[in-house]
Amino acid sequence: MDEKDLFLADIRKSLGYSAQDARTTQECASLFASADDAAVLERIQYRTHVEKQALLKILQENAEKINLDVQPVKSLADAATRIVEIVEKAEPEFGHTKQLIQHDDTVLAKLQLWKRFSGKAVQVHTAYAVDSQVREKSIASYVGLTAPRWAVAESATIVELGEPGRPRSTSLVPSVHIALIHLKDVLAELSEVYAMLRQQPPEHSCLFISGPSKTAEIEAHMVHGAHGPRQVHLVVVDEQLKEAEGLRGSGLFSS
């Protein structure tokens, strides 16, 4: 018997079972019964554009409470403009050079930020899986740009799934985190994220981010940017909106 068997035998003894005979999940099947996600998944799949816009509004309201900045835009080009504005306003916290690192993502690549920043003294890195210097580049960057999998309206949460080309550190080490997401990936509540995760369990890492890093450790004073980013911006692209009539001026858009 190794230490694991002895350990579990002790537990079985405490629970009143025979110490020798290991039990299996079949013996407590109800505890491991899987949740029925069909209804939730259907709800997500058939959500209308108007419903999604309502979610965006809820997301904005909840984000405000936790100092997460939400910026709805009508196109990727607008998104790029908005990102450039945020980057230019921010000041490097450590060191003096202005460097940005972004996830290796097709949508982010389409922004062509390197073009926007050419001649502006902001260097753009992409976290390619083959690049052995991603770690150093992340540490040197003051802005991290990611393309999260989902956002959650109820808790104003960004869900990041890590994998090659998408380091966890991009949303952690730089002082400013910008996340770009499409409106279709905004979910209503956490249970929808869990249902989606059950459909496709992430092989690598998974992370929920709700707002900028903070601490209230000293005399209950809220301070942002404890060990993680001090600012988090979520840019939400709603391309359908360009065509949708009558929705302009609905107050959702800040420009």
């Binding site: 230490e3 694991k4 002895l6 350990f7 579990l8 002790d10 537990i11 003894k13 405490s14 629970l15 290991a22 039990r23 999940t25 407590c28 109800s30 505890l31 491991f32 019964a33 899987s34 976290a127 991603v134 770690r135 109820e154 808790s155 949460t157 890590g162 090659p164 080309g165 380091p167 966890r168 550190s169 952690l172 956490l190 249970s191 869990y194 995760l197 369990p201 092989e203 690598h204 890492s205 998974c206 992370l207 929920f208 981010i209 709700s210 707002g211 890093s213 903070k214 601490t215 209230a216 450790e217 000293i218 005399e219 209950a220 004073h221 301070v223 940017g225 404890a226 060990h227 993680g228």
Partner: protein, 487 residues
Amino acid sequence: MTLQAGRNYREEASKGLDNDCLQKSLKKLQNNFGKGAMEYWASMTDSGLRDRAKNTRMETLANLDVVLSTLAENVEKAGGHVYFAKTAEDAVNYCLRVAAKNDVETVVKSKSMTSAEIGLDAALKGSDIEVLETDLGEYIIQLAEDQASHTIAPCIHLNRSQIGRLFEEKLAVALHRRYPPNLPDCQKSTLRHKMLDADMGITGCNIACAETGRISLVSNEGNIRMVTTMPRVHVALMGLERVAATMEDHQGLLQLLTQGAALQKLSTYVSFAGGKRLAGDPDGPEEFHLVVIDNGRSKILGDNAFREVLACIRCGACLNICPVYGRIGGHAYLSPYSGPVGAVVSPLLFGINQYADLCKGESLCGACLDICPVKIDLPRMLLELRYKLAYGDRKWQTRKHDRGEALVFKLWRISIAAGPLYRLALRCGYWMQRPLFGRKSLLSILPGPAKRWCADRDMPSLAGEPFSRRWKKRHGKGRTQHGVKDG
């Protein structure tokens, strides 16, 4: 085992009462978080969530052997290692072995009460390994060589100028102003490169999920993410009870945890960690170790009277409402686990006799049960512990705690059962106390062995006219069977 040798409940409690900064912080904490949590529970839309969560917690505990072996299997499938540690010593030795194998020189830690329970820091330092706490509160406690005084706000007993002075002394920095926002910045700039370059990260585990083989960690500062992302090795310590069977259970517990702890829908970060870095992964640990610790827990599990305390998710909500913790603070509990939950769990883990004061100090008001997200009946278990102390218990090796007190109560029981005798004794007592009390109704000094009783409280005087007589006078002969006058 005595965790904090040389300290005792009484002294630490009176120090807490005298600490103005602590008193102010405790009041604020209880007013905001305690009251806030109660309001939230009363208004939450899914009002059955707490009961459901409690039921699944209890069902999980009842099948813990299966749940833990499923967890281990899934962690190993993802390339992680699982070690089952029977004792604190086993756990510490395992961590030391992992550190030695990986040539670890620097360890960064995120707040883990389990690591304090097993005494890991001292052992690491003894092996010439630099150990740094990264949670701001814990970092301050570490610098001050102090003890944590709250589950989620470890340094609430210190104010900005004490902390500022500490930073100036220990970090050799000159603070422009000891203004709260400067202090986290100061820690960040001091610790940042250490966190980025450390060899090993050590964390606790908030809730593991057996089905997925992932542990989850909540934080607001982001230090836990640093500790689990940047170093080569990640070691997570968990008490054997901190596990949910499925994702569904996990979700409910996670939301109750962050609401109960700090009224957050979710904490800023929830990270799921488990296996090792996979091929092509840009970051994350090359090695992941999960250390599952018993250290007395299976004994608690085996006792139906106390099993329930293992359902605790360490949210700290009971600290935010307890009138006793709210006055004396966390140091008096002499263990990393303070407040009402500490008063139950510390005696069970470290010895009921040595920790007898903890359960006797609580008021049994029931507030901790009301606020607990998983409705753990701490007051019942406090009584259970007192019972064991009063009558002795072989299994828990308690001896009768105070024979003198037991004798007094025995005499009292005999006399009260014999009505006239009791009334006579009261009458005598009333006359005998007169020289002591005079006209006062409360007395702060008593003679003889009763002196100790008055050290912390006043003694009310015996009434000139006993209750039974007053009752008779008011309700006269019209008493019914139920003792209430008709009409």
